[in-house]
C-alpha cells in the first residue's frame, strides 16, 4: 500500500481514524486557543478598543486597563536580553566550532544542551537571591557613575527592575542561542573553509568572511527563535522585574512584562473586566510570539532550502 492512501480493512480504518483524530486535535487546540482567548477577552476588547494597546494606565480599582507598560516591558527586556545573548552566543558558537579542540567543544556542547533544559524558575531564584544584590551593590552604582547622565541609568539602585530582568533573560536564552548557532556553523562545508585557509587566511578571517557569511541567514533564524523564547518567558522575569505598571525611562525602575503580569494577577483577579483585560494581554503576547515565529520559520525554511542541508 502506498503511503497516503486510506486503508481498507476495519482494523486499518480504525487505526487511521484514531491517529487522524489525534492529529486534528493538535490543530483544534490552536484554533480553540485563539477563539477561547478572544471570547474571554471580549469585554475588554469591546470596552477599550485599540486604545488598549497604547494606554499606559493599569488601574485595577478604577477598572482602567491599558497594555502599553506591559508591551513596553516585554519588548525592552527582550531587547536587552538579545543585545547581551546574541553576540555572546554567536561568539561562543564560533569558538566551539572553529577554535576549540574537539574534546572541549564536545563536552561544552553537552553541557550547553543540559543548561538549556534547566527550568526557568531556577534562573528566577538565582536572579532574586544572588544576582539582584550583586546588581544593587556593584553593577548599578558603576553604571550610574559612568552613564548616570542618561535617564536610562537614573533611579533607585534596588537590584530589581527592567535591566536585571533583561540580563537574567539573556543568561536563560544564551545556551539555546549558542547551541543553535553552533549547529549553523557546523553546516558550513569544510571545503570552503579549507580553501580560505589554503590561501593563507587567518582563523578570524575564515570565520568572518566564510563561516559567518555562509551562516548569516541561519544565525538570524537562531536569533529569532531565541527572541520568541525571551518574549514569553514568565518565571525568570517575574522574580526580578519588580512588577510595577508605571512607564519609566529608567532601566533601574521596576516594570512588568505581559507574562509577569499574568503570573502575578490572574489567579487573584476578582472583577470580570480585570480578568478580560489580562486575557487580552495574553492575546497580545500570542500575537507577538506568532509574528516572530512565522518570520523565523519562513526564514529558516528558505535558508535550509538554499543551503541544501539534511534537516
Amino acid at each position: 500500500m502506498a503511503p497516503g492512501t486510506v486503508p481498507k480493512s476495519f482494523g486499518d480504518r480504525l487505526f487511521f481514524v484514531v491517529t487522524a483524530c489525534a492529529a486534528a486535535l493538535v490543530l483544534a487546540l490552536l484554533v480553540v486557543l485563539v477563539l477561547r482567548l478572544t471570547q474571554y477577552a471580549w469585554p475588554a476588547i469591546s470596552r477599550f478598543g485599540l486604545r488598549f494597546l497604547v494606554d499606559g494606565r493599569w488601574d485595577i480599582g478604577a477598572e482602567q486597563f491599558g497594555a502599553a507598560s506591559s508591551i513596553y516591558g516585554t519588548l525592552i527586556t527582550t531587547l536587552i536580553a538579545m543585545l547581551i545573548a546574541a553576540p555572546l552566543g554567536v561568539a561562543s558558537a564560533m569558538f566551539l566550532v572553529e577554535m576549540a579542540p574537539s574534546w572541549l567543544s564536545g563536552s561544552v556542547g553537552v553541557a550547553l544542551e543540559l543548561l538549556a533544559a534547566v527550568p526557568s524558575i531556577i534562573y528566577g531564584m538565582w536572579g532574586l537571591f544572588i544576582f539582584a544584590p550583586f546588581m544593587a551593590n556593584y553593577v548599578q552604582p558603576t553604571l550610574a557613575g559612568w552613564l548616570g547622565f542618561l535617564p536610562l541609568f537614573q533611579g533607585p539602585k534596588m537590584g530589581l527592575g527592567v535591566l536585571t530582568a533583561g540580563i537574567i533573560l539573556a543568561l536563560m536564552i544564551l545556551p539555546f542561542i549558542t547551541a543553535v548557532s553552533r549547529d549553523v556553523f557546523r553546516l558550513v562545508p569544510p571545503v570552503m573553509k579549507e580553501s580560505a585557509y589554503g590561501v593563507g587566511a587567518t582563523t578570524w578571517e575564515v570565520t568572518r568572511d566564510v563561516s559567518l557569511r555562509y551562516g548569516v541567514a541561519g544565525i538570524a533564524g537562531a536569533l529569532f527563535l531565541g527572541l520568541g523564547r525571551a518574549l514569553g518567558e514568565t518565571m525568570a522575569v517575574t522574580f526580578v522585574i519588580g512588577n510595577n505598571h508605571a512607564l519609566s525611562a529608567s532601566l533601574f525602575d521596576a516594570g512588568n512584562t505581559i507574562a509577569s503580569t499574568l503570573a502575578n494577577e490572574f489567579a487573584e483577579a476578582d472583577s470580570d473586566l480585570h480578568r478580560a483585560a489580562l486575557v487580552e494581554l495574553g492575546l497580545v503576547l500570542f500575537g507577538m510570539t506568532l509574528v516572530f515565529q512565522l518570520l523565523a520559520q519562513l526564514w529558516l525554511r528558505r535558508v535550509r532550502k538554499s543551503m541544501g542541508s539534511r534537516r
Binding site: F15, A20, L29, A117, L171, T202, W204, L231, A259, F286
Partner: protein
C-alpha cells in the same frame, strides 16, 4: 609594508580568538555558577523532614513531601494523557499524512504550539477546565502539562518514524500483515529508542514548568488526596516561598529547586542516552 600588514592581521586574529574564547568561558562560568548555587544552597535544606513532612507555616517543622507527591501525580497524569496522544498524532503525520495538506497544517500547528509561551497554555486551560467546573484543580494542571507535551512528542515521533526504512514496512505488508499491525509491531519497534527519547524530553520539559500551573492546579498546603481540588506542587511552592519574607521558607525553596533541577537534568541525560542508543 607587507610585514606590517601581516602583523596587523595576526593581531586581529589573536584578539578575535581571545574574545570568542572569553565569551565561551563567560557563558560556561556564569551558568556553572547558577548550578553550583542551586546545589550549595539546596543541599543544606534537604533532609529526612524535607522528603517526609508536608509544607508547614513559617518557623514550624515541615517539609515538601506533599508538593513532591503532587508534582509526581501531575506529571504522571500529564504523561499518560500527553504521550499517547502525541504519539498517535506523530503516527498520523509519518504513516498517513506524509506531505498531505492536513499533515502540513498539523506540523505547522505543532511548531506554533511549541513556541507558544507556556503561561498562555495555562490561560487556555483555565478558560476550558477551571471556569466551567468552578474551581482550580489538579486535573486542570495535568491537562495543561499534557497540552505542552503533545506537540513535542508528536514532532519527535514523526521524525523518528520517518527514519524507519520503507523496505521494513513493505516486507511486513508483503507477508499479509494489516497496516496497523505493521506500524505498531514493526515500525514502532524499529524506532523504539527514538520514541523513548521524545517522551523523556517532553517529560523533562514539563516537569520543571511553573507558569501553566499558576492558575490551573494552583497550590495547596494539604496532601494531594483529590485531584479535583487545588493540588500542591513543587514549582508553584518554590515561587510562593521564594517571594515570602521568611528565611526558612526561602531555604525550602532552594531545596525544592535542587530537587527539580536534578530531576530535569536526569531526564535530559536519560533522553540523550536513549538517543545515543538509537543512533548506534
Amino acid at each position: 609594508m607587507t610585514m606590517k600588514r601581516l602583523a596587523y592581521r595576526r593581531w586581529t586574529d589573536r584578539i578575535a580568538r581571545a574574545m570568542a574564547a572569553l565569551a565561551a568561558v563567560f557563558g560556561v562560568v556564569v551558568l556553572g555558577a547558577i548550578l553550583l548555587t542551586v546545589v550549595y544552597r539546596g543541599a543544606s535544606a534537604l533532609g529526612i523532614d524535607f522528603f517526609t513532612l508536608a509544607t508547614a507555616a513559617p518557623r514550624e517543622r515541615g517539609g515538601m513531601a506533599n508538593a513532591l507527591l503532587g508534582t509526581f501525580y501531575l506529571v504522571v497524569l500529564a504523561t499518560l494523557l500527553g504521550v499517547p496522544l502525541g504519539m498517535l498524532c506523530g503516527t498520523y503525520l509519518a504513516e498517513f499524512g506524509r506531505e498531505g495538506p492536513l499533515a502540513v497544517a498539523v506540523r505547522f500547528a505543532c511548531e506554533i504550539l511549541m513556541g507558544t509561551p507556556s503561561i498562555l497554555i495555562g490561560v487556555l486551560i483555565y478558560t476550558l477546565l477551571v471556569v466551567p467546573v468552578g474551581g482550580f484543580s489538579g486535573y486542570a494542571g495535568a491537562v495543561a502539562l499534557a497540552v505542552i507535551m503533545i506537540p513535542v512528542v508528536a514532532r519527535t515521533t514523526d521524525e523518528m518514524l520517518r527514519l524507519v526504512p520503507h523496505e521494513l514496512r513493505e516486507s511486513a505488508l508483503a507477508l499479509g500483515a494489516p497496516h496497523w499491525k505493521v506500524t505498531l509491531g514493526v515500525v514502532f519497534t524499529a524506532a523504539r529508542s527514538g520514541l523513548v527519547t521524545g517522551a523523556l524530553l517532553a517529560l523533562a520539559r514539563t516537569s520543571g514548568e511553573t507558569a501553566p500551573l499558576l492558575f490551573t492546579a494552583l497550590n495547596s498546603t494539604a496532601w494531594p488526596r483529590d485531584l479535583t481540588e487545588p493540588t500542591a506542587n513543587l514549582t508553584v511552592t518554590i515561587y510562593n516561598r521564594a517571594m515570602s519574607p521568611f528565611d526558612d521558607w526561602q531555604q525550602m525553596a532552594w531545596g525544592a529547586s535542587l530537587v527539580i533541577t536534578s530531576a530535569v537534568l536526569g531526564l535530559t541525560v536519560a533522553a540523550r542516552w536513549a538517543l545515543g542508543r538509537h543512533c548506534r
